[in-house]
Symmetry: C2
């Protein structure tokens, strides 16, 4: 059963292309994480927030990643991190066009 | 630019297969919404929460859907709805395996 992880937090930038440049090395390392299927990187320059939505193969991988990544974000000085773990309802998601 | 919408809320069920059966007709209607690329349906029976993560073609479509869907959820008696709108950072997301 696939697991979806939502993370978001207050974020002052960089946004857009500058964000891409700043985090491309981190993105390449994240792709190597055990059990990760994909991550979508999110940003909102109006509300000054950023985050990610992740699809994992199972809950154990998602929980391990969340523990590691929360500590990493805090080491960057980020506070107010909000995270949620969910099971994916696969049949309903496929009815609405998602490949999960 | 694609836009990601996160919605989650307290939810007492049904979960799993019963959730699939209950909401399959709604899923088929959601797939017809203007600008929607996909929706992933989320559920957590331990924390008693549910929600969805949506990818839209643009912010106007996402905002219009959010207004309509929030009113629909409230008409189901759901309270405590949390929603977040984000731009997708496409280059970083593609580096981490997402097709966005």
């Amino acid at each position: 059963m696939n697991v979806l992880l939502q993370i978001d937090f207050p974020y002052e930038g960089p946004f857009g292309e500058e964000m891409t440049e700043a985090f491309a090395p981190l993105a390449q390392s994240i792709m190597q994480e055990s059990g990760l299927i994909w991550k979508i990187w999110t940003e909102n320059r109006e509300t000054k927030e950023s985050g990610g939505v992740y699809l994992f193969e199972d809950m154990a991988s998602a929980e391990a990643y969340l523990t590691m990544h929360t500590a990493r974000l805090e080491s960057f000085g980020i506070r107010g991190i909000r995270s949620k773990l969910f099971a994916v309802n696969t049949p309903l998601s496929r009815l609405t066009g998602a490949m999960v």
